[in-house]
Symmetry: C2
Subunit: 260 residues, 2 copies
Amino acid sequence: MRGLAREIVGIGRNSARLEAAREAGIIDRAAGAGETTLGPRDLAVVCTPVDRIVQDVRSLAEGAEEDATITDVGSVKGRICSEIAGDPTAAGLFVGSHPIAGSEQRGWEHATPTLFRDRVCVVTPTEGASRERVARLERFWQGLGMRVACLSPEEHDRALALTSHLPHAAAAALASLVSEREFEFVGTGFRDTTRIAMGDDEIWTPIFLENSPHVLAALDAYSESLGRLRAAIAARDEASIEAFLAEGQRRRRAIAARNA
Amino acid sequence: MRGLAREIVGIGRNSARLEAAREAGIIDRAAGAGETTLGPRDLAVVCTPVDRIVQDVRSLAEGAEEDATITDVGSVKGRICSEIAGDPTAAGLFVGSHPIAGSEQRGWEHATPTLFRDRVCVVTPTEGASRERVARLERFWQGLGMRVACLSPEEHDRALALTSHLPHAAAAALASLVSEREFEFVGTGFRDTTRIAMGDDEIWTPIFLENSPHVLAALDAYSESLGRLRAAIAARDEASIEAFLAEGQRRRRAIAARNA
């Protein structure tokens, strides 16, 4: 409804789901994979799990006009961007994206027009992409209300391991420790802290694998940090416990102030 | 406004704050500590940090009518209940409570009339308390809209270590790992997961110390769980990662279904 596209084509395997999305007005037209080729000013946004993005970008690049643009919304960028950069057909057409917005829900029924508003989209251009194509992609995300940040795929993956992938692991582990007998005794704190654990494990397993070096480093830093807290509690070292909590409080409040 | 009390007296050290609360209509009358004695049907609710509750209950018990009731809202119950049970004056008057509701905010300005609605209050009677007094206290919490669950102080502390104290530690550690450079790249997932880290470290340090045996056990179980995920990622064991995330998802969805 923002006039960013003349026509929105939904491409997917499940034609019944696509047809329902079309009837709901989410897309203008449905197409099976391989049934559509990209015209000169077309923009394709690949929204498949991170372990399928490279092959989907390659298929779209086949037969695409050279002025078309392909991007993705994957939560890990390193391998995807480097593999596509090595593909002579796809390299020039592709610029990676990661709009940092979403929920634990799945399916077009949960689409919301304000999902992207005032959120950050990371764009990770590699050398093959023209400036003009990158600028066009940035305008697209900005048109949806996002602020755009440019990072290298490596910088992106290191940051997101801490800001997104580690929290997901932490939430899943917390949720797993609570047995049915204790369900009654969870408050809003627990619920907020573990909400993302409801997310789709089919989406998250490939994210952990794709970003494994940074995720492992983040898990190690996290263990090390919790180990320090454990030692302080065991030693009844009040000052160290307080300093630990005060540091978390300081950082989290700074984030709240920044994103207010 | 629910007609649960004829008069609400705020007792505290900071008379300016109490006066402001009175002007805002939160309390009917303000009093300094030691200025009020409890009459026959009075109910005193001690809301100080967990390391101060025992002494505050003891002061209130001095000179209280034998039909008065004293409770608290501390997040840890074991030592508090056993120390008070050993005090000849306070034992008969006191029944411990923990209304599982709150926020990371502090001060009467953040009071909300629906805070307790449909939440659980754990009541932890010890042998000294009469049935009638326990029943009266349960009716009080129910009058605020809560469901009441009776647990032993020990059962309470073990459960809350997992459902509340560990999540607080986990959130603080996650928040501490993100540096200012990365603040821009946090999404709603990170924000929800770490929101409770904004809570007051002066409240939380004594909670960790008071409940240290259960908190240490919870931290160990959490480390062990994260260690299994780490091993699965390092071994690129897709099935184990998926099973780990699916288990967190299953439990968290069960909690969401129960508390819907």
